[in-house]
Assembly symmetry: C2
Homo-oligomer: 436 residues x 2
């Protein structure tokens, strides 16, 4: 089954004013829907990062992709691997790049989009769900977590950009408990992740404590300041939240750099605090893992089929981490239903992925969904592998057209949370690491 | 596609009196041909270790295997993983076990047989070669090496057992050059591996030197004494063969134990000798890899789909080693064409496997082949992925019956090279490690 066509649909999806250490989410997140045609008349789809960078990389491979057998993807992988080896200028963690803009994983990102579309097409040809093309699922439903963000109010809340959302402002511990309750009431999540690195660490500590008081120890809690803290601050937070981050919780990317992470770990362990450190910043690529392992800098790796290289690479990561005794969780970016299903199939095929996956899905709405039938359903915080072939979803071309028109009108072609922060919140804002 | 039947064909294949540090090969090597039936009328086959142990493990899983969807193999894998975790008594390297008899990898061995048969059936259902069910081949032909053994003459050469072979006695450097020339003339191999640990290290060093003189630096050379040497002797051999083991050569399992290997490496490196150490003794299971990496005890891992857990596990190993900067080669046991094809598909799907694979295939003959059409062809030392579905071979049931009758008559049900050595060569022989 050979690829005969490659279509890229750039889209823009409304996004609330979410905050992180990277800055502020823009009014519209950009994504790319990838569609391949095959000589058997079967199509395959995927969703990936948006804007000129990711689109350009896919375009640059168009000649190689057209004519490719959907089963024969190793050549493309190896070609990208060679390019990456030639271009790489040493270690480039994601510390200073928003996901999707990190040169380190540009090739695995590009490969992933094509691989996922190929697996979707193969699944449709064989009438098999994507996760069952990979040795068979380890589970039939995948748990996601309530991904809380400190945020401004939507609906013109900052300076007139129309970003409606039902969660309102969330800039205090109390507001975050409200956000969590609201999200859990809607989706049924039973794990919580808080994006930190936004407010003073004492406020973020208090937020976690309030969440614990509200939900009790059966709801694991995680906090992820995206490297906003010094080693000292990270250790202080780890000391302060020993109980709150136990029972399936973790401290994600508290401090910048592999060495920083290792130092945090060492100092916490020296006090008998074994709260695991998770990462999707120090570790974003297979080549980071040996050092992370050697230094014990990271105990839980955040996978993500979008940038680790697709579903099979995701499985390799899962297996790798299982062997090294590292845990596996999953990272997320703003995304729609195609990505949600790719993440679900990926997680279903990964036995060692035992933490609830991140997802930004609650921050998007029915109005911007591009899959036929609308939003993917959650049952008790879980997405079920549907009894349908491939990813299990089809594209709504009217919606694609509408979101494409919106993309065409946007003034930006890449994600830049720092610029957005300067525009809406503080004209002098710079990303400073560590900030506290 | 569900499994409806599981047939196990125990067979015995004539084997020449090959020597290693384990002892002496018995007159007949024992293997098991595995065949699954499915509800779609498609069969899948595999070849694995022989005798009561491996057969018993497969029988013990019969209930779980019958009814299993050939695409849904993860449940079986996880079940074995749980059993292995419960049974494991710490580290059990293969130092004291012949392959196929190591309790450490009993579960991955059993899984491999079923997985390979499933992939064969899936390939037949989809009309795809097995290697293309795994993301696509990295190469379309796989190089094997001339696997030389010190040996007694066959044809009743020792005490009347009828083990005909065309290579005659090989117990001197000159005889081994003759063996190499003969094997290369027949198969076209362009890499050589010598099974050592049999004669005095000085004789084995001289053998490697004679091979180098005969074949020159374009034919990489390896020597594998299976832990027969002390660290001192290993270092001495490494020093003596710096040039001979360069250019794609390696020193395989010179000394027993991970620590021993690490010490050999350290002492050679201290002298500026970076001959890589390969292993299928210190490292036979994923759980060995972290320590091997940490200690720099092993630079090249010998994969083998038969005991690492099948084709997908083989790929995971390949990826793992690629990330860690370790090389990948492939181990072999006595085997027939079904295994040869599984090894070929496995190697074809592994980009980092860049060394010619081991194979015992030249030590078996047409008379004992169980695949339709007879012996698999080599072209310039390589086996091509055939343009046929699955493994690309079918079973010759007449041959299976004949070899099964021979198995029924055999007095032994497990491989025991030590007992064989005592019976034929030296009644007091014991495996001593290190011997030199």
């Amino acid at each position: 089954m050979k690829i005969t066509g490659l279509k890229l649909y750039p889209i823009a999806i409304a996004d609330p004013p979410l905050r992180s250490s990277y800055g502020l989410h823009a009014p519209y997140a950009i994504r790319t829907i990838v569609e391949i045609d095959t000589d058997e008349g079967i199509r395959g789809i995927a969703e990936t990062y948006g804007g000129e960078g990711p689109m350009g990389l896919l375009e640059a491979s168009r000649e190689q992709i057209i004519g490719m057998d959907v089963f024969q993807r190793t050549g493309l992988w190896l070609d990208y691997e060679r390019q990456a080896a030639a271009e790489s200028s040493g270690d480039r963690s994601q510390t200073w790049f928003v996901p999707g803009e990190n040169p380190m994983d540009r090739h695995t990102r590009t490969f992933a989009a094509i691989e996922i579309a190929c697996l979707d097409a193969i699944g449709k040809a064989l009438n098999k769900p994507a996760c069952d093309l990979l040795g068979g699922r380890a589970r039939s439903e995948v748990a996601f977590s309530a991904y809380l963000f400190y945020k401004h109010a939507g609906g013109g809340g900052i300076d007139g950009d129309a970003r409606e959302d039902e969660y309102g402002e969330g800039l205090s511990p109390e507001a975050m408990v409200r956000q969590a309750k609201q999200m859990i009431a809607t989706y049924g999540f039973d794990e919580i992740k808080l994006k930190g690195g936004v407010l003073d660490p004492d406020v973020e500590i208090e937020t976690i404590r309030e969440l614990r008081r509200e939900f009790g120890p059966r709801i694991p809690l995680r906090i992820d300041p995206n490297c906003a803290w010094s080693v000292d601050t990270s250790v202080m937070v780890g000391e302060s939240l020993v109980e709150e981050l136990s029972n399936g919780g973790y401290l994600e990317d508290p401090a910048p750099g592999m060495e920083g992470m290792a130092e945090v770990r060492k100092r916490l362990l020296a006090q008998g605090i074994d709260t695991p450190l998770a990462s999707n910043v120090a570790v974003t690529h297979f080549r980071h893992i040996p050092e992370a392992f050697r230094l014990d800098a990271v105990q839980i790796v955040l996978s993500d089929p979008h940038y680790w290289g697709g579903l099979r690479a995701q499985q390799a990561l899962d297996h790798f981490c299982g062997v090294l005794g590292m845990g596996v969780s999953m990272h997320s970016n703003n995304h729609l239903g195609v990505s949600l299903m790719a993440m679900t199939h990926a997680a279903a095929a990964c036995p060692h992925l035992t933490f609830a996956c991140d997802t930004h899905y609650p921050w998007q709405t029915q109005r911007d969904e591009v899959v036929v039938g609308g939003r993917i359903a959650f049952h008790n915080g879980r997405v079920r592998i549907p009894d349908k072939p491939g990813l299990g979803v089809d594209l709504d071309y009217d919606q694609l057209a509408r979101l494409g028109e919106r993309y065409a009108k946007l003034p930006y072609r890449k994600r830049d949370d720092e610029a957005e922060m300067r525009k809406h919140v503080d004209p002098d804002w710079r990303r400073v690491l560590p900030r506290w």
